[in-house]
Symmetry: C2
Subunit: 316 residues, 2 copies
């Protein structure tokens, strides 16, 4: 026999509160409303739910059993309410974030940890991709926000762009690299060593080409390619290979003492790391919270880098 969820909830409230009047108060309803519900329930069931003509009100075994189900429903309903409230506050929900692999692995993943330290009820679903994929994912509603280097001129197409860090690359190497002995490495020196290529399709790969061009270097020895950041760092640590990496990523890993940047100036890409969101997308508070957290974290990082550079001067 099918019964109304609302009725079960009312029954549960009455049983738990120990009286019709009190139960009504718990639910914020009038006593006659509950009284009628109970009468109707008993009529439909053909079984009493309470021992009649006796106070305090005592449920029959059946009444008690049904009230337990009602209690579950009431709890679930309250949990749903809490879900909504917390969703609105941006302290719960799901944030689906996509981004370019090196930034995600090198910076964002740490920031996510810090974020969830503050907002443990927001779960993060991470995915990888470059600008065109990410744009498509945003538009298809597969992700809520993207973290990605974007050409400064690139704009429009319904995407909202929020810059969080100016583009700046460095030539990275193991912190025991022989070239670090030299005061001013030349372009020729760079040709001496093997290179790690950034992932195919990444802006870094394009940057690498333009760097080589600006240094007047024709070709380099690519020894390793296709690896994610962890592979690149490991490889670099255990070899004298060079690669081009975002300044911020190398900076973030300076604590490990394994890698560093060569003191050589290379041109800045006309590109900034930023947060991308769909302009037309519904505002999800948790995504706002997350975006703000990431932006703040990058602002802090920017400050840190600035202070660090006052001590150590990179390049010439």
């Amino acid at each position: 026999m099918k019964l109304d969820e609302r009725h079960l909830v009312q029954l549960a409230a009455v049983v738990q509160a120990g009286g019709v009047t009190e139960g009504a108060a718990v639910l914020g309803l009038s006593q006659p409303a509950i009284s009628r519900t109970l009468a109707q329930l008993e009529k439909r069931l053909g079984e009493p739910l309470f021992v009649r003509g006796r106070r305090p009100l005592a449920p029959t075994p059946l009444g008690k059993a049904l009230a337990e189900h009602g209690q579950i429903i009431l709890s679930a309903s309250r949990a749903a309410s809490e879900t909504i409230d917390s969703f609105r506050r941006g302290t719960s929900g799901v944030v689906r974030v996509g981004g370019s692999p090196f930034f995600m692995d090198g910076l964002i993943s740490r920031m996510i940890a810090g974020f969830q330290d503050r907002y443990p009820d927001v779960s993060i679903e991470q995915s990888y991709g470059y600008l065109s994929d990410l744009r498509a994912s945003l538009q298809a509603g597969r992700i809520d926000v993207a973290v990605c280097p974007v050409d400064v001129l690139d704009e429009g197409s319904g995407l909202e762009f929020r810059e969080i860090l100016p583009g700046r690359n460095v030539v990275a190497c193991s912190s025991t690299h022989p070239l670090l002995m030299k005061r001013k490495p030349t372009s020729c020196d760079l040709l001496e060593y093997a290179w790690i290529a950034p992932p195919p399709g990444s802006p870094l790969l394009a940057d690498l080409r333009s760097i080589l061009h600006s240094l007047g270097v024709a070709e380099i020895k690519i020894r390793f390619s296709g690896g994610s950041l962890a592979s690149v760092l490991n490889y670099m640590t255990a070899s004298n290979a060079l690669t081009v990496l975002p300044h911020s990523v190398v900076f973030a890993f300076r604590k490990g003492g394994q890698i560093t940047a060569l003191p050589i100036n290379i041109p800045h890409p006309d590109r900034s790391l930023g947060l991308l969101r769909l302009t037309a997308a519904p505002r999800i508070p948790a995504v706002d919270t997350f975006a703000n957290h990431v932006a703040d974290a990058f602002a802090d990082l920017g400050q840190l880098i600035k202070r660090h550079e006052q001590a150590i001067v990179w390049g010439a």
Copy 2:
């Protein structure tokens, strides 16, 4: 924010079924009904629950989260329905049974085990008492059924009596008792040994007195009293003490080989073991099921005793 349980259920059905139409079918409703509910929910929340303009219908993270709560509600509701159906079939519920201690401990408790082997979803709450207490408990709705010896003439007072075994007592003793050596023990022999008194207030105690009277015995040595059946049996096993017990109880424990009955005839009490229920009480199917089970079990027991007596003749 408070939301309607019904709406959450409908949301859950849609998410689980993967479409409005399918969800409506699951709940036995029309598609527009669900469609309107969802529209209303989204309007009240100010947040989309589904990714619009896209098929197959995909819930947003919020929609999915709320649907999970709805699923819980739906399950609880179905469980409640099942509780009712099963209650009506008499295969679930609670049976509160009261009875005289020796019968409960000696016979009924075993029958409850057999009962629950067949009906595992019926739980039994057992309590003890003699006729007057039990009658009061029945009338107060504290128990659903009583198992108790009742004077054959005693009747009325809104109680329905169902006889399940004619009263018959025996003098019980350890199975190694010296009197068992004698072919025909006399009343004087009975005076030689210590006696265990049945619990105060029990019909057995009254029976004991009338037995002594009929045997022309004035007084006996009471050595032990106030014990429950387990104590009485243990005491008897470890001594040569005698007591008066229902024939059926001694019979039920014959398998243990520890106790038996003396071959001496004592008068039957004008009393029968029976099931008592309130005539006016609402019919609880599980109680019916239980009462029938107990009655059947006693019928079987009666047959067993009869066959057993054709082999072994008790008393003279």
